[in-house]
């Protein structure tokens, strides 16, 4: 039985996306671009064409494809066709194939043509070995799978904000998401720049391949989980926890390799990365997860009732991420010793040497830094909760980003320009100054009292 017969979602997307005219247009346009590029007198023609074909693949698959995959879900939601799918007997796996390959099938078609061109020109050029070309191409396809999966995943989280009547807008948050994924997958980010620059020849393609494979697998697992929830299956929380733990591990390996850092204490680096990753994901989740007061009230009620199965299936991911911030920060604090960090890069080493903090667990400065960091994060979370209690639901994300910008960029900037440095700055950013945690703690208490009052109402 063919995929078309087995998977109605895939079949439907083929009907919608593929036409003879479109099938002809894509290779025609690509051929014209290649023809124009080959006329340019600069550089080796085949290497140049390899790079242009590669660039075409990046644009068609990674950027345009992600946009198509994201918009497809939002469009389905706006047209209420998503309701049919949620009430169908389609499985998450069928939907993954349908959404990940079917909806952006035209982009995959373009990407495959570009890939063929990369391979042909690469073999004819002087720049890369065949193995390099194959590994790089597969890496890019894996990156495509990651980005498209994450785009769909974000769209699925976005539609949870909907009320079933009003339409959602597409695309605004999109560039931010792509950038986040690029930064998150550090290999992908550096790979893109390296691959587009002929000069960078000493690039570790296998490391890139490994990281891309890792994140492609997790992106599909994540998408599978979100689709399961949309289709009324019950999910358990352990997969998110497993992702946080393993992702930090992979990042530790990548960092050790790429930053020329000589570290004796690997565990310390692991916990630093764990906490940093947990912090960045915590803020992202606050923005994209549905954090309505009503859902939080239910969550609190279920906690009081000790309804652990409900919490296991329905706990928001930020609530699972926060403990890892605490674990990561406390562990880093316990393991911290600035003498263990030695960089090959002298400039970086000088910065480390100039940090005027006492090392070790017995230092009040590092303890203050740890506590103020935690309280600042908690304060930001409470700001988000406070925003949720307001009536203007559509602008909460933007308002939250604006508040963070004011609190972490504008106000500290003013304070510094007024000449009040560390004393004033500790009001706005975590600093290794004894007692600095008092300010965010005070803000947390005030915000907590306001929110509690609103909750009671």
């Amino acid at each position: 039985m063919s995929l078309l017969e087995k998977n109605p979602e895939f079949k439907k997307n083929i009907w919608l996306e593929i036409s003879t005219q479109r099938l002809i247009m894509m290779p025609l346009i690509l051929l014209m671009v290649i023809l124009l590029a080959s006329m340019s007198p600069l550089g080796n023609t085949y290497d140049k064409l390899t790079n242009i074909s590669y660039f075409g693949m990046v644009v068609i698959l990674l950027f345009w494809g992600s946009k198509v995959a994201y918009s497809n879900i939002i469009q389905e939601y706006n047209d209420r066709t998503w309701d049919w799918q949620r009430m169908s007997i389609l499985t998450p796996k069928q939907l993954i194939v349908g959404k990940l390959i079917g909806a952006p099938i035209y982009n995959w078609y373009g990407a495959v043509i570009c890939l063929l061109l990369v391979f042909i020109f690469g073999v004819m050029g002087e720049y890369s070995s065949i193995l390099d070309i194959i590994v790089n191409s597969v890496s890019t396809l894996l990156l495509g799978i990651s980005l498209l999966s994450v785009s769909i995943l974000f769209a699925l989280l976005k539609i949870r904000e909907g009320n079933g009547r009003d339409k959602l807008k597409t695309g605004q948050i999109f560039i931010l998401l792509i950038l986040f994924c690029f930064f998150f997958n550090s290999s992908a980010f550096s790979f893109m720049f390296n691959r587009l620059s002929v000069s960078a020849k000493n690039f570790n393609t296998w490391k890139v391949f490994g990281e891309n494979l890792f994140y492609a697998i997790w992106a599909i697992i994540g998408l599978h989980q979100v689709l399961r929830r949309e289709l009324n299956y019950k999910n358990k929380s352990y997969l998110w926890v497993l992702f946080l733990v393993t992702s930090s591990f992979v990042k530790t390996i990548v960092l050790m390799d790429s930053m020329s850092v000589i570290i004796d204490n690997y565990v310390f680096v692991y916990f630093v990365i764990l906490s940093m990753q947990a912090i960045s994901l915590f803020y992202l989740l606050l923005l994209i997860e549905q954090n309505e007061i009503s859902s939080l009230k239910i969550l609190l009620r279920k906690i009081k009732e000790k309804n652990y199965p409900y919490l296991n299936y329905n706990a928001p991911l930020w609530s699972l991420t926060f403990p890892f911030i605490v674990i990561g920060l406390i562990s880093s604090w316990i393991l911290f010793d600035k003498n263990i960090l030695r960089f090959e890069d002298l400039w970086t080493q000088e910065i480390i040497n100039n940090i005027k903090i006492e090392a070790g667990i017995d230092s009040f400065e590092t303890l203050s830094l740890l506590l103020s960091l935690l309280f600042f994060i908690l304060r930001d979370f409470l700001i988000m909760l406070l925003l949720q209690t307001t009536s203007k639901k559509k602008r909460i994300g933007a308002a939250f980003i604006l508040y963070l910008f004011l609190l972490y960029v504008v106000f500290p900037g003013f304070t510094t320009s007024l000449g009040s440095k560390s004393i004033g700055l500790q009001l706005f950013i975590p600093l290794p100054i004894v007692g600095s945690f008092f300010y965010p703690l005070f803000e947390c208490v005030v915000l907590f009292l306001i929110i509690r009052n609103k909750f009671k109402k």
Binding site: P8, E9, K11, K12, W15, L16, D79, R80, T81, W82, D83, W84, Q85, R86, M87, S88, I89, L90, N163, G164, R165, L231, N232, Y233, E292, I293, S294, K297, I298, T389, S391, K393
Partner: protein, 308 residues
């Protein structure tokens, strides 16, 4: 068949449904009525498992929808307010896709698609793309999608909005046809005159609260249950009314009375009305008119809304 108990749903700091409870029997056509924002769509979405249930229970055909939502998908068809269609597909493709995604191991796909298109009255347009169809036809394609897996329950959210009178009449006929095939339907609408044509029951929601669940008579779809009877006679004396009330204490409720006219509700089978009539004649009442009356749904609705 459908049992909703203590269902509440809060959305964006607003209580969309507040402790709603009701039961609907097989074969009913229920009109879900209420002003904008009263919770009609939320209620339909909760029943259809599209909205999670925060508190309360919904049991459909013996299946608790929180326990086995995927089982409920097989017996429910849901049509949202803008029909949920793919504009660039043909009617045949829409139906083929829905059949493949709603029926397990679907056999005879062509036959199913053709029969559903005939039932919904869209066979004539089966190879046209959806974006070329009128709103009335699009709505029929939507209904065809909702019933293609022959569900036991069909939920229609504002199916008549934006339709011309001809399309509304056709919709009424289609809904009665579905009921005659054994389906139970819940239809939300603002257009009460249209609901009156086919509803056997009416649920009124206001600000998330269920304020009335009543059964209707004299509708074209043939349901019977709550019987309103109008008596017109000369000089109906107060003692006769009291005697009438005490004799039929458990089965009669007087709704309105004037010296010449009484409107009462009979809580038993409509066939029992001859007992009342013979009692009145024995008491010497000069009966001029004794008949079941059709309660105007619009009047009923407005009266209920004003009272509560």
């Amino acid at each position: 068949m459908i049992s909703v108990s203590n269902l509440s749903h809060e959305f964006q700091n607003t209580l969309a449904l507040n402790n709603v409870s009701f039961e609907i029997k097989d074969g009913a056509i229920v009109g879900l009525i209420g002003p904008n924002g009263s919770g009609k769509t939320t209620l339909l979405r909760c029943i259809s498992t599209l909205q999670s249930i925060q508190t309360g229970h919904v049991v459909i055909d013996g299946i608790d929808i929180q326990e086995s939502p995927r089982e409920v998908h097989k017996i429910i068809g849901y049509l949202s307010d803008n029909f949920g269609l793919y504009d660039d597909l043909t009617v045949r493709q829409c139906l083929e896709y829905t059949a493949m995604s709603h029926i397990e191991n679907v056999q005879n796909l062509d036959v199913i698609v053709k029969q559903t298109a005939i039932d919904a009255g869209v066979f004539e347009f089966i190879d046209k793309t959806v974006n070329t169809l009128s709103r009335g036809m699009r709505q029929r394609v939507g209904i065809a999608q909702a019933i293609i897996h022959t569900p036991k329950i069909v939920l229609l959210d504002e199916p008549a909005s934006g339709l011309d009178p001809e399309a509304r009449i056709a919709l009424s006929q289609l809904i009665i046809q579905l009921k005659n095939k054994g389906m139970t339907l819940i239809v939300s609408s603002h257009i009460l005159a249209e609901l009156e044509d086919y509803c056997t029951e009416m649920i009124i929601l206001k600000e998330g609260n269920l304020i009335e669940h009543t059964q209707l008579i004299n509708h074209k779809s043939g349901g019977t249950s709550k019987n309103i009877i109008k008596l017109v006679a000369e000089n109906i004396r107060e003692e006769i009314i009291k005697s009438f009330e005490s004799t039929f204490e458990n089965s009669v409720k007087i709704l309105e009375k004037t010296p010449t006219e009484i409107l009462f509700e009979l809580n038993e089978e409509i066939t029992k009305q001859h007992l009342l009539l013979s009692f009145l004649i024995q008491q010497g009442v000069e009966v001029k008119e004794f008949a079941a009356v059709k309660r105007n749904l619009q009047e009923e609705y407005l009266k209920t809304m004003q009272a509560k």
